[in-house]
Amino acid sequence: MNTPQASSASYYAAAYQRLSPLLPGGGLGWLTQARRAALARFARHGFPTQRDEDWKYTSLAAIAAARYDLWPAACVDPLAGVVSQRALAGAHLLVFVNGRLHPGLSRPGDLPPGVRLNSLAYCLEEQPASVDPLLLLGAAAAAFADLNLAFMADGAYLHLAADCHLAAPIQLLFIASQANLAIQQRNVLWAAAGSSACIIEQHVALGEGSYLTNALSNVVLEAGASIEHYLLQQESPAASHIATIDVRQQANSSYSSASFAFGAHLARTGITVALQGEAARCSLDGLYLTAGRQHVDHHTCIDHRQAGGTSRQLYKGVLSGASRAVFNGRVVVHPDAQRSDAEQSNRNLLLSDKAEIDTKPQLEIWADDVKCSHAATVAQLDEEQVFYLRSRGIEQAKARTMLSRAFAREMIDRVACSPLQEALDEALREKLRVMSC
């Protein structure tokens, strides 16, 4: 009998043998080589276990044991309704169904000159010279990144030319509809010097099936570029969602991300930001709401490599039922990164005594002239406030929901894009309704 680990390696190896002729970019020697190397690394190391410090609180046993389909079947579900319900007014919309671009449902609209927005598969097949190998290969070698590299078939490819400003947001809507599918999605977001854009990456599901999204985004900001990156995770309640975001920033660039984790049974978002140029700035926000037996994990790592960088992190969580959340915020300040300024805060509201949060700041500071702060709080609802509301006739469950919403709203108020704000508020209400039952 094989160990699960060994058998999952051979499962993926066999799948690769079968699928490699179908994967995009088959004509690119460097890519095929990289895919094979990634698969070989995966075969050696397998999925991380809870003995691995980075995965101490998050078990991947279910993902390791699963034998996902790695190629989507033709989707026969009607999707127009979901798309019109989710499409944000005025956004440049790309729709991906089970990991593949769906041109019929997409509405990229008029893009100003200097903006290339495409399907990654199309770029690899039709414009391979436009894809920088370093971009695709750069992400940290880790199990999910390796699987993604080996099997990635599509995703969004965005390139902003220098000084190009995109006024309307780009909405990347990922719809999962096929149970037991592993979606290996790869996005490339590349902002040349002085350009700017707002990107909304949204994951939704048709139905309540169990599947895996393994999403990897490579984000590059050249000098003075600016990107707002919103992650809206509303996967099916049985799904697993693993997102890896690898960000590299040159001087004076600005990256802000906000991660809203509402769905999935198991979710992990890992954001790694390298401040590679001076005076680069990043801001990471997060809001997670967990119910039932959900498990939501955020791992961030901000690498201050050059002087004068600024990083801000604010993550808030509301946990109910027997759910569990993990926040691990790592900040590294290299010896050359003087005058770095890093703030990190993680605030949690526990609505049930069976819910559990593991929160851990991790500061590694090798420079002396730096400002670094971190704070983590875990609190329950204020019973004085609950009584005050009840004494005005508001029933207990409603009072608790009002107070939870007040706690969470701050993260939505910080969102600059107003159609998104409305969609988030609606998602928050819906989630709190589920949590109050």
Binding site: S391, M402, R409
Partner: protein, 256 residues
């Protein structure tokens, strides 16, 4: 309206109320006075449904129904309102949203149609005017960053919107300037009616010049030590509580 017989309350094993008897009829205004720590807030909070007390009584009846064991929101829906001595700040919840939720929760209970945003705004504007309050307070988070006086007025505003049958006002006059006191008193008097009853907890005779009580009680060491008409309040203003027989049952008749 309210009939309390031999109410005893303790918190964490410490006796706070040691046998209260109090009857309030519809149409009446009762004032409760008494030294700090004598149990006044405990009494009204218990009546409003605060949990965490160990309470025993022969009866605590409101409109004939037993109150002990009834949920706070249920009491509010049946018409009990407590103006808090220390109104609670709720950051992140807009005052107007809170007031509308409360108003509609109570209207639902009374089988009245819920008010939509427009009707509610019309109602609240008329009440704001009555209390000389600025509309901007509506859009701020509940009590957060309100001055002491603004918080007290906000309590009276809530009362004016919810129109309770039994209003319990815990030191609604404390910390008010003289103009604000008149406004708050006006708000209370506007609520007075033969169908309603009001219990005022206060330390000062001043409020009672504007809201004239039918009965005045002195609470001392967990018991009603004295009861009388408004003359008792005037007398206490002069003499203080020094000769109030703490720990002894109230004398049967008032001294007025």
């Amino acid at each position: 309206m309210l009939d309390i017989r031999n109410l005893q309350v303790s918190v964490d094993g410490k006796a706070i109320l040691k046998g209260i008897d109090l009857q309030v009829k519809a149409g009446e205004v009762h004032a409760i006075m008494g030294p700090n720590g004598s149990g006044k807030s405990t009494l009204v909070q218990l009546l409003a449904g605060r949990e965490g007390y160990a309470a025993r009584a022969d009866a605590v009846l409101y409109q004939g129904a037993e109150l002990l064991g009834m949920a706070a929101e249920e009491r509010a829906r049946q018409g009990i309102f407590l103006a808090f001595q220390y109104p609670v700040e709720i950051p992140g919840v807009a005052n107007v949203y809170f007031l509308k939720a409360a108003c509609n929760a109570i209207r639902r209970h009374r089988n009245l149609p819920e008010l939509d945003a427009i009707d509610f705004l019309a109602l609240i504007r008329s009440r704001l005017k009555l209390l000389g309050m600025d509309e901007s307070l509506l859009y701020r988070p509940v009590n957060a960053g309100f001055s002491g006086g603004e918080k007290k007025r906000n309590e009276i505003l809530q009362m004016a919107v919810l129109e309770p049958t039994l209003a319990l006002l815990d030191e609604s006059d404390s910390g008010l300037d003289i103009d604000a006191l008149k406004v708050v008193a006006g708000g209370i008097n506007a609520l007075r009616s033969p169908q309603r009853a009001i219990v005022l907890v206060t330390h000062y005779q001043r409020l009672l010049d504007y809201v004239v009580p039918d009965r005045v009680h002195v609470l001392a060491d967990g018991r009603i030590a004295r009861s009388g008409d408004r003359q008792l309040a005037i007398e206490l203003e002069r003499t203080g509580y020094a000769d109030t027989p703490a720990g002894h049952p109230a004398p049967p008749a008032s001294r007025a």
